[in-house]
């Protein structure tokens, strides 16, 4: 495999590690600092496990003030900082380096305020995504973004990656549901951006911070929007004879003015894998499956479904299966949301995340399969079809270096295909280290230099999450590092 490079760890920092660790020990309680080699190992990577680097130290602060103290210390000593939520990044966004201090938010788990009248919740950054909805569910509310890792992933990480999920077709992604943050800048300065109002004053720094992959600061608290739960929700399965027909059906549903809450797509390979894992009752005699979720009262859902079924029939839908109970609905979603985990049980895989305009879905599916054929590999396609966010899972054997190299090459070709079809490299997983060196396929050097200048307005010394997002040679040129 072509190893993704990192900046060379700075020898002076590594040499001074004992002093740095001692300095950190003076800033946070003892149980908030990890320096034992054995205990540092769990922080060496995230969900992009092909790359591992043991950090110099891990700090797990409990308060914004502690984060600020650690940031100030690292800034004064020129020590890189890698922010970390739950470490579920699929793009290597939280992978540290030997000269870096990881600041994790896993101890910042307090739900600070729920305000139903203004429909907001204020949480510390380490609160998990699903916990917000769990806390307010009994009162009829929920927090909309629902990444598949929602049981584990934190709001801080969601803000770093601008996370999406299956239901963002209707409700939007993190940036559309975030009202404010408390953030610590590189030098320990604490700023508040936004609040309970629906928009903030001045330049939209909140919008800039959301999705900045931990390079602009560390978010310690967030104000998010709560929404009233729909009266009911019902996922329905539609099975088709080919992926292309299913893709065309998606375009027609949207084109006729129906925006369901979710339209998820699975091809035959993905259906087989997910059904074997979740026993969700997916039809096995079809080549492609759509999970379409509608919301409302029973009558409303019936009326919307009638329109969708008419469209599906025009595309010769082979199987239609409505969930008959809440349990069945939950199983249908369990199958979909465990797609990555279930795939991991049958093979190693790399997951792509390109997004394409809806009109290009069929074309991109067809071309993806010819790229995969060309390399002699297998692919499982499972993705958010309603907003064009593709997730081809390229299956390979990690112990076969030649096959691993092919898988990576195929993945890069698929991402370029998405960009060439008018789309982008990543819809919700982030650039991290994984897609960093493809950025020049989507952007010009001028575009990236502008983004890097904006980044430097927040972090002039480039200490926050280095070696990520921007092609390494551009970062080296910008910072004079090697």
């Amino acid at each position: 495999m072509n190893q993704i490079r990192f900046l060379e760890p700075r020898a002076d920092i590594i040499a001074g590690r004992d002093e740095i660790r001692a300095g950190l020990a003076g800033l946070v309680p003892a149980d908030c600092l990890v320096t034992e080699e054995r205990e540092l190992v769990p922080f060496e990577t995230d969900a992009f496990t092909a790359y591992r680097r043991v950090p110099l130290a891990v700090v797990l602060p409990e308060t914004t003030e502690q984060v600020a103290a650690v940031m100030r210390f690292c800034s004064e000593n020129g020590v890189p900082v890698v922010p970390r939520g739950a470490g579920t990044s699929l793009a290597g966004g939280a992978i540290p380096q030997e000269d870096a201090v990881v600041i994790g938010v896993s101890k910042m788990t307090r739900l600070l305020e729920v305000d139903y009248e203004n429909r907001t919740a204020k949480v510390q950054a380490g609160v998990t995504n699903l916990r917000i909805s769990d806390e307010v569910s009994a009162d009829g509310f929920f927090y909309a973004p629902d990444p598949s890792s929602q049981l584990a992933c934190t709001i801080g990480g969601n803000i770093g990656m601008n996370s999406g999920g299956a239901h963002c077709l209707k409700y939007g992604v993190t940036t559309n549901n975030l009202l404010g943050v408390t953030m610590v800048l590189h030098d320990g300065t604490v700023v508040e951006l936004g609040g309970k109002a629906l928009d903030a004053e001045g330049l939209d720094l909140l919008g800039l911070v959301c999705g900045s992959e931990g390079q602009l600061g560390i978010v310690t608290e967030a104000v998010v929007r709560l929404l009233a739960k729909p009266e009911g929700a019902r996922p329905v399965l539609f099975g088709f004879d080919s992926s292309e027909v299913a893709g065309a059906c998606v375009a027609d549903i949207i084109g006729e003015g129906i925006i369901p809450v979710a339209i998820e797509f699975m091809d035959k390979e993905a259906i087989d894998i997910c059904e074997a894992f979740a026993h969700a009752g997916y039809p096995m005699d079809v080549q492609a499956l759509l999970i379409v979720e509608v919301e409302g009262s029973d009558d409303e859902m019936d009326a919307t479904l009638k329109k969708i079924i008419e469209i599906a029939r025009r595309h010769n839908v082979k199987r239609i299966k409505e969930s008959q109970s809440a349990l069945e609905a939950a199983t249908i979603w369990k199958g979909r949301k465990s797609a990555f985990g279930a795939t991991g049980r049958v093979a190693d895989y790399i997951c792509m995340d390109g997004t394409v305009p809806l009109g290009q879905l069929s074309h991109v599916l067809r071309e993806t399969s010819s790229i995969i054929d060309k390399y002699g590999l297998r692919v499982a396609n499972v993705f958010h079809a309603g907003d064009g966010n593709m997730h081809p899972l390229i299956l390979y054997n990690v112990n076969d270096p030649a096959e691993a190299e092919k898988a990576e090459a195929a993945g890069m070709e698929i991402l370029k295909l998405c960009v060439d079809a008018g789309g982008c490299l990543t819809g919700e997983h982030g650039v991290g280290i994984e897609k960093r060196d493809l950025m020049l396929h989507q952007f010009t050097e001028t575009d990236l230099n502008q983004q890097m200048r904006v980044r430097a307005a927040f972090d002039p010394a480039w200490l926050l999450n280095p070696s990520k997002v921007f092609p390494l040679d551009l970062e080296m040129r910008g910072t004079g590092r090697s």
């Binding site: 009829g140 508040e192 109002a197 409303e300 919700e428 950025m439």
Partner: protein, 408 residues
């Protein structure tokens, strides 16, 4: 604003060349589209006006993709006509502010982005900044920059799209914008609650937004404003429902039963509902004249308190959108904006911000038009601005008060 000459380049490359020259010569540029919002912001001096009006036309629009791309100087009317032909719309429901600014030109799509203009549906469908998927712009060094794209989900690199939205032409000259569009709802109806006080209306709107009825507009008009908007029966609290006809009917019943105990209720059909919400988006109740007009954004439950405290001291009129969190407040005295009072009141009521959308040049020179920021945030914003426009070419000083000094 006194700009001597206006130049409207016909291409992005030409625009970039003009900016490069201006940066080299130290000439400040006023950025304009249709020129209908020139009177908003701090007054500032510029050697020339750089207009996007020559960069016009829809460049890409396939309705089934729910995305429209247009050059920044395209008139909004041209785009709305194209959308209407395909039964689509901007979900963020941009208003037309010509009535309130008294300007005549044709508002452009670039200005919707640059001013982040969002109407009543913002509470469920997001603001202009949420609908804006991609931009091309010329930065202050005369480089053409692309950011975002034409897809709904995109986390590739830093989100400069959001930064450009609402930057009032102070970061760059937008040359092309891509907006998400949505199908028009098949039907709409507005449930009107008559006679509620501003405070009771806040509670009613919060209750309505807490139901599963999917209210897509929640506004309150005190009696005098309601009357001007053509509604009899005292103050009017408006709750809009949109969607497929059978769904709207079902949700209307759900909403009615959730609001038992509310004062008198009536429902407006599609034909009466649409023009009413258009009036609110256009801020039509406060069109005409030069009375100072504040746009105040706070937590929804705080809006009525903020307005009451300010008006007790100054006199004036207000109406509420966004469940009460967006307050349009017009003062009675044409010569006094009461900026300190407005901002202190907001701070006391839990925070938020206020923009002086309309006032005479003299008043706008004397007070901060945009909300003053905490020093650390203000400094950060200035560093970000300088990273895009290092020479300070674009609309210098429009968003940040210079302390009342007359610009040289």
């Amino acid at each position: 604003m006194t700009a001597n000459d206006t130049i409207a380049p016909a291409s992005e490359e030409e625009a970039a060349e003009i900016v490069r020259q201006a940066a080299a010569n130290g000439t400040a540029l006023e950025i304009a589209g249709g020129g209908t919002k020139r009177g908003i912001g701090q007054p500032f001096e510029a050697g020339r006006t750089l207009s996007a009006a020559g960069l016009s036309g829809i460049t890409q629009y396939n309705p089934a993709e729910l995305v429209l791309t247009a050059r920044a100087g395209t008139p909004v009317a041209e785009i709305e006509a194209a959308l209407a032909e395909n039964n689509q719309m901007f979900a963020f429901e941009p208003g037309d502010w010509r009535g309130l600014t008294g300007a005549n030109g044709a508002p452009t799509v670039g200005a919707l982005a640059a001013a982040n203009i969002s109407g009543s549906r913002r509470i469920v469908a997001g603001a202009a900044r949420d609908g804006l998927l991609g931009v091309r712009f010329v930065n202050g060094s005369g480089e053409v920059i692309k950011n975002g794209g034409r897809v709904m989900k995109n986390v590739t690199g830093l989100d400069l799209v959001k930064l450009m939205a609402g930057s009032w032409g102070t970061l760059g000259l937008l040359t092309e914008v891509s907006f998400k569009v949505l199908p028009r709802p098949e039907a709409e109806t507005t449930l009107v609650i008559h006679g509620a006080s501003d405070g009771d209306a806040a509670n009613l709107m919060a209750a309505a937004m807490g139901t599963s009825a999917e209210v897509s507009g929640a506004a309150h008009l005190p009696e005098s404003v309601a009357k001007r908007a053509g509604l009899d029966g005292g103050a009017a609290t408006l709750l809009r429902l949109e969607g497929f006809a059978e769904s709207v009917a079902a949700r209307l019943e759900r909403l009615r039963s959730a609001l038992t105990g509310a004062p008198e209720l009536s429902a407006l059909d599609d034909a009466r509902s649409k023009p009413l919400w258009k009036q609110l988006g256009d801020v039509a109740p406060f069109a005409g004249g030069m009375k100072p007009l504040w746009r105040i954004s706070v937590a929804p439950m705080a809006g009525h308190d903020v307005a009451a405290i300010i008006m007790r001291r100054t006199g004036g009129e207000a109406f509420y959108d966004w469940q009460g969190g967006l307050v349009w407040l017009q003062l009675d005295d044409e010569t006094e904006a009461a900026a300190a009072l407005v901002r202190e009141t907001i701070a006391e009521c839990g925070g938020g911000h206020a923009t002086l959308i309309r006032a005479s040049d003299d008043i706008r020179r004397a007070v901060p038009v945009f909300q003053p920021q905490a020093p650390a945030v203000a400094a950060l914003s200035e560093r970000v601005r300088a990273s895009l426009d290092p020479a300070g070419v674009f609309n210098p000083g429009r968003m940040v008060w210079n302390g009342g000094r007359k610009a040289a």
